[in-house]
């Protein structure tokens, strides 16, 4: 290196400066998170565009799916119990169950408890509406087992109610016997639409 002339040193210096400049330019060495380099910004907007195009490509399937979901919802919505607020949901369920059981010939229904099962798929997707599943336990006495079937069928098969008996405890008269009073406790799952929920 001692034999290098000033001209060679100058050339070497220029090459080093050029190399640094090119590295800074190409590698974005001075770019920070706050100010991404032009190629990074370009890659970002390209990725966003690709995402948009992918979304549009999938739009056909999405439209079909939404049509199906709307159809299902339009069928389900009239059968849901409605409440203005989540706090009023148990009361609405109580009233509705008494009404349905009364239709089946069951009077004096005792409500043993309700549970708003918010943790099990409660859907609160918009401020104005949500669907909450509610479980209610009711008890009543009937003179024979046929009324038990009628009561359960009234809940499970009601065309204007979306509910299902998921548990039952029947004591007293046997299923194969008609004598005596039968004490029935039913556990019923249903869903309440809060705030209307649209249709």
């Amino acid at each position: 290196m001692n034999g290098m002339s000033p001209r060679r040193w100058a050339l070497l210096g220029v090459l080093v400066v050029l190399g640094i400049a090119v590295a800074v330019d190409r590698g974005g060495l001075i770019a920070t998170d706050a100010s991404p380099s032009p190629d990074q910004r370009y890659a970002l907007v390209q990725a966003q565009l690709a995402q948009q195009r992918q979304l549009l490509d999938d739009a056909g399937h999405l439209r079909e799916e939404v049509e199906t979901l709307r159809e299902l919802w339009s069928q389900l919505h009239p059968r849901l119990i409605q409440a203005r607020t989540a706090e009023l949901a148990p009361a609405s369920v109580r009233d509705r169950m008494r009404e349905v059981l009364a239709r089946a010939g069951v009077a004096r229904v005792r409500v043993l408890g309700e549970e708003v099962r918010a943790g099990e798929g409660a859907a609160r997707t918009s401020p104005g509406s949500s669907v909450v599943p509610v479980r209610i336990r009711v008890s009543f006495d009937v003179p024979d087992s046929e009324l038990v079937y009628a009561a359960i069928a009234a809940i499970d098969s009601a065309s204007d109610l979306h509910a299902r008996v998921v548990g039952a405890s029947i004591r007293g008269g046997g299923l194969n016997e008609a004598a005596g009073s039968v004490n029935v406790t039913l556990t019923i799952d249903t869903a309440v639409v809060i705030g209307g929920g649209g249709s």
């Binding site: 669907v131 079937y149 299902r164």
Partner: protein, 408 residues
Amino acid sequence: MAIASVTTRVMVFAGSGFAVIDVRRGIRGWAAREVCSVPEASDARGVDAARDAVRRSGRADRSMAVADASSVHARPMAMTSRVFRDARGGLRSDLEELLPIDGAGAVIGYVDRDVPDVEGDGSGGGYLLAIDGATKQRIDRVASDVLGKHCDRIVAPHQAAVCLRDCVVCELGVLGDQQDTLVRGGVLAELRRDSDGEAPALTFPNRINDTLRPEVSRLAICAAALDRFGSQATEPLVGAWTPGWKRALPAVAAAGLCVAIMVGAMALRGQRYANAIDRTLTTQESLRQEVESVERLEAEAIQLRERLGAARLSGPGHAGSGLVGVFDAVRRALPRDAFLESVTVDDAGVRLRGIALNAREVLGELEASEEFESAREVERPQPVGDGSQREVFDVRVAIRPVPEGAQR
């Protein structure tokens, strides 16, 4: 000014003649081309022919003359050429005291010499060089006749030797040829006579002829190279060397051009990206309404999925039959003589308590039923205790799971 190539037209005077040499400095080095040579400058036809030859050879970037070695007077001085520049006026006025020439019209120059520090005082030194007024006028006249103008610079051949650093000088004098060693212009015959063979040779020609043609060309190249390599160590008899900044101008211009190209390329690259980003954003903007519509659709799908999921009911029972179906299944599976006291249905299955003639038969029937997955005793069968031989049974059966999709 050409960056890649500079042509210097050098008039080399030797004896009574002269030669015109075009010295071209290009990327590949120095090259000399003889334009013309005139053995006798007083020959008018020779000068006319030389003028024609010069005209035909085209333009040169600059011109210079190398005086005949025999017309140059030299005197060693204890100063450098840098000091000479400041003292030039004084030396010029005292010239007749320093050199044995007529001072009227004479011109002076200087050349540093790089001599061993014999005195040990670190002092530098050089040679004061001079040509008298008559020689200067002769050079100017010939230059005007041949080139159409005076030469930009006039140098002594001793100065041209600077370009070769240490070299052997062959001075062809009227008293016979003399061969000396020159160290940066200093004739060191007395000091370096024994190193003749090691240094390159430079001949000061004393006439223009075919034999000396290579020496003339070599001297012309050395003289032309002075502006580049000898400007620090010499001061020409007439004219001045190109200032350093001016010589560096082409390199600076080239470097500036490179930087401009590089910066321009960077800016261009940035601009290309900016344009591409703008185009992409425009495309995004054109898709925005459609995308927003699809995004709304997607949000609706998510909302509906969540609502339907939250409203989904499940529980025990066979497909579509619910709990009534479970009871029917129990009733079908139980023997006719069995009497149920209690039925409890929950997620775990159905617990049945009752009385039958044979509790084991109840369990067997339930196990055999296709409606149930399994059956087990919760408590061992106990006799009723009323003397009727009937038993109390307490069994639990697992309901066969509802197939996926059958729940509502």
